[in-house]
């Protein structure tokens, strides 16, 4: 990749192309960043001003009241943070481990049932037992209510990611290398550990990012299986807070004197929940790009 720029001649058409490309990307970037800026500035604006004057790029009346309000009782939000970080890390590590192993085995030509098993995995992406049986399985037979396992287990073997992994391994890890390692006397685990894993780094990063995001954004499983407030995931904590009282109010019922979260608190909450995961992108991005590129050329 290095020095590519200097080798290409700067012809006029090239410059024009670059101009157009950069300006399009610039516009798209602004489209992406603009809402984010509005949210951040909204979270630092006084609520009444926010309603009267609307969102602005720069808060007209600066205030950190919404953050103070949010962290007045930090225990709930910190617990949600803690459990979400832990589950993201643990879930992603276990998930990567089992999915890369599955992907590796499924692409081995000497594994006789690979196509059948691949089909079974693929099949579940189209046909499933449905919501209620799935819920009954997890709650009545596996007893996963109010257990962190309920937040980890269902995402561990994602069919799409397994298929992605299988394709990636088969395209980036030639059979010859595996065979030569075998001739040299390496066992299956040795081959996987010392040869396959180092090669599929970009693949791991890609799948890992998908998985980490899935765990980080997970709220649905929490809504179904967790009733203990201390075990809420961060996103569900947010969902729960934004929903409070609205539900009853829509029904036009007398709901007592509870305060609804104000607009600026909602924004502050969004900032607080998106914050950390955004920092994951820069670290993973270089692998991510490489991963997609390798897959595209050879696959």
């Amino acid at each position: 990749m290095k020095g590519n720029g200097s080798k290409i001649k700067r012809t006029p058409s090239n410059i024009i192309f670059n101009l157009i490309a950069y300006s399009i990307i610039l516009v798209l970037t602004v489209f992406c960043i603009f809402p984010l800026v509005l949210i951040v500035s909204g979270s630092f604006t006084q609520n009444s001003v926010l309603i009267r004057e609307g969102y602005r790029i720069w808060p007209s009346v600066f205030s950190v009241a919404s953050y103070q309000e949010l962290f007045k009782y930090p225990a709930g939000i910190l617990k949600a943070y803690g459990s979400t970080i832990a589950i993201t890390v643990i879930g992603t590590s276990i998930g990567l481990f089992v999915m890369s192993m599955t992907g590796y085995v499924l692409q081995r030509k000497d594994f006789f049932y690979r196509n059948r098993i691949s089909f079974i995995i693929y099949f579940t992406t189209i046909f499933g037992g449905g919501m209620v049986p799935w819920y009954i399985l997890l709650s009545k037979y596996l007893h996963l209510q109010n257990s962190y396992v309920a937040r980890v287990l269902p995402l561990l073997m994602t069919p799409f990611l397994i298929i992605l992994m299988r394709t990636f391994i088969s395209s980036s890890c030639p059979v010859e290398i595996v065979e030569s390692a075998k001739i040299d006397g390496a066992g299956d685990f040795k081959i996987f550990n010392s040869i396959v894993l180092p090669i599929i780094g970009p693949g791991l990063a890609t799948v890992g990012l998908f998985l980490a995001l899935a765990y980080w954004n997970e709220w649905y499983l929490t809504s179904l299986f967790i009733t203990n407030r201390d075990m809420y995931s961060l996103q569900f904590y947010l969902y729960d807070m934004l929903n409070s009282a609205r539900f009853a109010q829509e029904m036009g019922m007398y709901v007592g004197d509870r305060e609804l979260p104000s607009e600026s608190i909602k924004m502050a909450m969004v900032v607080v929940t998106t914050g950390p995961i955004i920092f994951l992108y820069p670290f993973v991005q270089k692998y991510f790009v490489a991963g997609i590129a390798i897959g595209s050329v050879k696959g």
Binding site: N193, Y254, D257
Partner: protein
Amino acid sequence: MKKIVCLLLALALSIAVFAGCGGNDNSSSGNPPSNTSGGENSGTQVSESGVDISSKAKLVMWTPGTAPRDLQRISGKLNEMTQRDLNATLEWNMYVDVQKLNLLLTSGEHIDVIYAANYQNYAVYAAKDAFLPLDDLVPKVSPALQEYVSTEMWDATRVGGKVYMVPCMWEEWVPYGFLWREDLRKKYNLPEISDLESIEAYMQGIKDNEPDMQVTGEMVSTYGSLGSHFTTWEFLDRQYKWADFRVPYGLYIDYEDPTKVINWWETEEFRNDMKMFKRWADAGYWSRSALANTETKQNAFEAGKIACDLAFNAPSGYANLVSRVAASHPDWELGWQPHYRVKQLATPNHATQNGMAVPASAEYPERGIMLLEKLILDEEYYRTSQYGVLGEDYEISEDGYYVAVGEPSSAGFPREAGDLWSTRNEDFMLYPETTAKVLKELNDEFRTYTRPNIWTGFAEDTTPYQTEKAALANVITQYLPPIQAGLVSDVDAEIDNLLEKAKVAGLDKIREEYTKQWLAYVEEHGLAK
């Protein structure tokens, strides 16, 4: 190889530890109690009504809404009481969305008592036997409860002839009404709000004198499967004695004669009302982009952005607004004219609006009913479940008002935070002072002209016209709000267009079937005059 084995072993162990943490956190989660032999209680315990409670039970109760921060603490307090009185532990959970409710009821999970309501498909679940019939259970287990709920209320909850819920006996009215700023009215010398002319004069006065303010903040709102409507629609409730303004498909059911079902969209009145809205829209009482407005009217009103709300919901909402505005804008004066007052007809919420049911999957239905009796008719249970712990969460003032301990925003269990709407009992109810004044006054007024709610107990069966209904909802969402908002150039032409499109979608078939079902309901409940 060894390394890998070690790694796997470590992984397996960590999973086991991990699973352990989760499980132990809440050892009582969902598992049926290991044994119910009641070895510790050698003597047979019997409740007042003669129900055997010698075996230890575990009760599970679910209510809707967001769990307050201290739900576990209050649930723990109640748990102490149920252990003392009912020989049962209590687990109190809350669900946030309706889908969860569906799963809870269809998966056969252990639940003894659950919130049930018409807007949460009470009739549908009851018809599918998701709840236990209570006709024999309640008289046997709790004569007091049987006595407390009036015969009319029991009858109104019947589905297929059987009672499936213990309805709430606390009468509640939730009318819409015109909300305005009395201080601005006085400032600009506008006529007192009473009839339509005075409301128009007020709006014009604001338009002329307050250039920075919007007159109203009306917006498009979705009414479930009915499609979207512009909120001016709710304002019309003041003019008509219809069974309910939510009667769908452009039908009008006359309150005085429920057998009279009119195609309202085809009447001259409807056209005139829509022309009135067009006049208001042309006068600029709401913005040209009102159809895209997403800001709640209440927020906008409190921020001083709008000067009135054509259809502000619920007297309690008004009571809350009054107390909040008193703190944030002491110089404001508010006025609210409930639509009920204009037409001198109030209809309380239907019996099935709030209730408690015992699911078919209950393990201890008898003790579930006993718990309900306690929650409704025992002051200690009532106050704990609704208000928390005296001294920690709330105090009672000398005049008998509810006073929250600490700031409202920091409360771990605010007033009625457990959403036990269905056990409300006026005898033990505590109001905050401002709410009490406004709410009680209004409720007392409504009581003078209240009449039974005839519409919301009706459970429509949409299966015969499922497809048509979906098609019609699309048509309504697309063509009706602009008409209701007056943001069209020719009202008559647009209404003709709407009717034509609705007919293609199957309006006639829907109306025919709906009317048939409605008349059968009228017949069954003896509503015909």
